[in-house]
């Protein structure tokens, strides 16, 4: 028993030595500058340029931020306005519906295709082709097929988000370690049990990566689809503001899209980190 403790792995490695306070403060400051420095400089430059510009289409960032706050975040607690609920709500609804659809179909299809080497080899060129279509190019097709309603928008988002999920699931399932599958077979795990306990977890890093790409593609298509014949949504708001020459409002809509994108990405990364703790630990 006593000798065994010497076998201890990296889990019991030494705790890092705490550096002195001033060094830690300096470290944090350096980190801040590295992470945010360029952004801050860019905004300052933008501000100076906009101030010296005489064009009304080029408002200063402080005006944009101010308008963003009043238009979207000046309501009763929880502080969002009706404009926010109406437009962000409908946009997010479309995006999440389309994305969820893509995830369900992509994972199911990917597992099916990935379970056979032959099937995977056969459909891979087709998948690569579909993925390579510039997504806005399929918008007219969906308009013709499904009209101008929300079905069209959700389907378009789903269509475009589908390919990265599908491709990554196929690759994830194809590349599950042979030894892990053999182990499961020897220990009497049937097809369904192997899928659940071996194939899915082993493929999950790739599947989740595909889902993340799909989410950002979906966000793009959400905006694009709302530029056409929509009557709500953040994309529609940007488009309509431009029509009425409300340039600052238009810019605030763009800011909102950025915020939505960042928040979605951050939440997804948090989820990914949680689900893949083992993966991160294994590679450390």
């Amino acid at each position: 028993m006593t000798t065994r403790t010497q076998e201890a792995g990296p889990a019991e490695s030494l705790a890092p030595v705490k550096p002195p306070t001033y060094a830690r403060v300096a470290g944090v400051a350096r980190d801040l500058v590295v992470r945010w420095g360029v952004l801050v400089v860019a905004v300052v430059v933008w501000h100076q340029l906009a101030r010296s510009s005489t064009s009304g289409y080029f408002p200063v960032p402080t005006d944009i931020l101010d308008t963003t706050r009043t238009l979207w975040f000046s309501g009763q607690p929880p502080f969002v306005t009706d404009l926010f609920t109406e437009n962000v709500g409908s946009s997010l609804g479309r995006l999440l519906q389309g994305w969820a659809l893509a995830v369900v179909i992509g994972i199911a299809g990917g597992v099916l295709i990935g379970s056979s080497a032959l099937a995977a080899d056969m459909v891979r060129p087709l998948l690569d082709f579909m993925r390579s279509i510039p997504s806005p190019a399929v918008l007219p097709v969906f308009l013709v097929l499904l009209g101008i309603g929300d079905n069209m928008r959700v389907s378009l988002i789903a269509f475009v988000s589908l390919w990265p999920v599908l491709l990554n699931t196929v690759e994830g399932v194809r590349t599950v370690d042979r030894v892990k599958l053999d182990t499961a077979r020897v220990f009497g795990l049937g097809r369904v049990a192997r899928l659940r306990h071996v194939v899915f977890p082993a493929a999950s890093p790739k599947i989740l990566a595909g889902m993340r790409v799909a989410l950002s593609l979906g966000l793009n298509l959400m905006v694009i689809s709302e530029l056409v014949a929509a009557n709500n949504g953040v994309g529609h708001f940007v488009d309509a503001s431009q029509d009425y020459f409300r340039i600052v409002d238009m810019w605030s809509g763009i800011i909102m899209i950025v915020i939505i994108g960042i928040l979605l990405n951050l939440s997804f990364m948090a989820l990914e980190k949680r689900l893949l703790r083992w993966h991160i630990g294994e590679r450390a």
Partner: protein
């Protein structure tokens, strides 16, 4: 040589495997393993040991010949078989904790929950990992990971345990510890084990019998009974005359196999099996 012939668990008969038509990895392998026996299988590298293992496990269908477990021909993976792979880090599931890894196969065995938990507990205690239930395999050293794999096999209570070069990827110290662990487990529980190894010392040290295979395409070359006391010790046993004689016998056979002589060697006459250490080399000197 054995007083009571034990019940046969595994019977491999004239196993032949071709990875391509006309290209044989295994020419003809035949042997039996009795209940509670530990049989080591050694041979020159690339002699199809892993192919043999996979055929026995039902992961690979032999081109001809039969594998029987408890007298029944194996056509798919037998349900009372467990295996310890050489690649422990690939064979354990990194998304499961140590205890979950051991428990996973038991989920599909008809035992109630409490008993399942007890089996996991006991198996991990057996391999000295009682305090590591909640750790992940990648937090453990290689030797400890292989202990987890051994615990997983033990908890499954197989009637045959296959070990494919189980200690080939750990350092010498750990290797000796793990060998003694397997020896102890086999003594205490009477597990039937088929151990594939390229290490001659290990084959003799752990085995009740050693089966030597020829080079590829491989055949059974010789079966050697290991008449050593069942209590064995890394230092004492390995220094004993009997051990040294057996080891050199196996080593000579393997050297001959490596030089490409593939004809089956007749077993030496009765009585020559427990020889004077000096008797063997003289016999081998006939070789070129």
């Amino acid at each position: 040589m054995r007083v009571r012939e034990p019940k046969t668990v595994l019977e491999v008969e004239d196993l032949h495997y071709e990875y391509l038509p006309g290209k044989a990895a295994i020419d003809s392998i035949s042997f039996k393993i009795g209940e509670g026996e530990l049989v080591s299988i050694v041979g020159p590298s690339g002699c199809g040991k892993t192919t043999l293992m996979k055929s026995v496990a039902g992961l690979l269908r032999p081109t001809s010949g039969t594998v029987r477990m408890h007298g029944v021909a194996v056509s798919q993976v037998p349900d009372d078989l467990a295996m310890v792979f050489q690649e422990y880090e690939r064979s354990l599931y990194p998304w499961l904790t140590v205890a979950e890894n051991v428990k996973l196969p038991l989920r599909y065995v008809k035992v109630d929950k409490g008993q399942r938990a007890r089996r996991v507990e006991r198996a991990l205690a057996e391999v000295g990992l009682s305090r590591d239930h909640a750790k992940y395999p990648w937090q453990l050293s290689g030797g400890m990971q292989q202990r987890v794999a051994i615990a997983r096999a033990l908890a499954y209570r197989p009637s045959l345990l296959l070990m494919d070069e189980p200690f080939a990827s750990v350092d010498a110290q750990t290797r000796a510890e793990l060998e003694d662990l397997v020896a102890a487990v086999q003594r205490n529980h009477g597990v039937t084990i088929m151990l594939i190894t390229h290490d001659i010392d290990e084959a003799v040290y752990l085995g009740d019998r050693v089966i030597v295979l020829t080079g590829s395409p491989s055949r059974t070359m010789r079966e050697i009974d290991v008449d050593l006391p069942s209590e064995r010790d890394q230092i004492e046993t390995k220094a004993s005359r009997e051990f040294v004689a057996l080891r050199s016998e196996v080593a000579h056979l393997i050297r001959r196999a490596t030089r490409g002589t593939t004809e089956t060697v007749e077993p030496p006459p009765e009585g020559a099996a427990a020889p004077e250490p000096t008797a063997k080399p003289r016999q081998e000197r006939i070789l070129p």
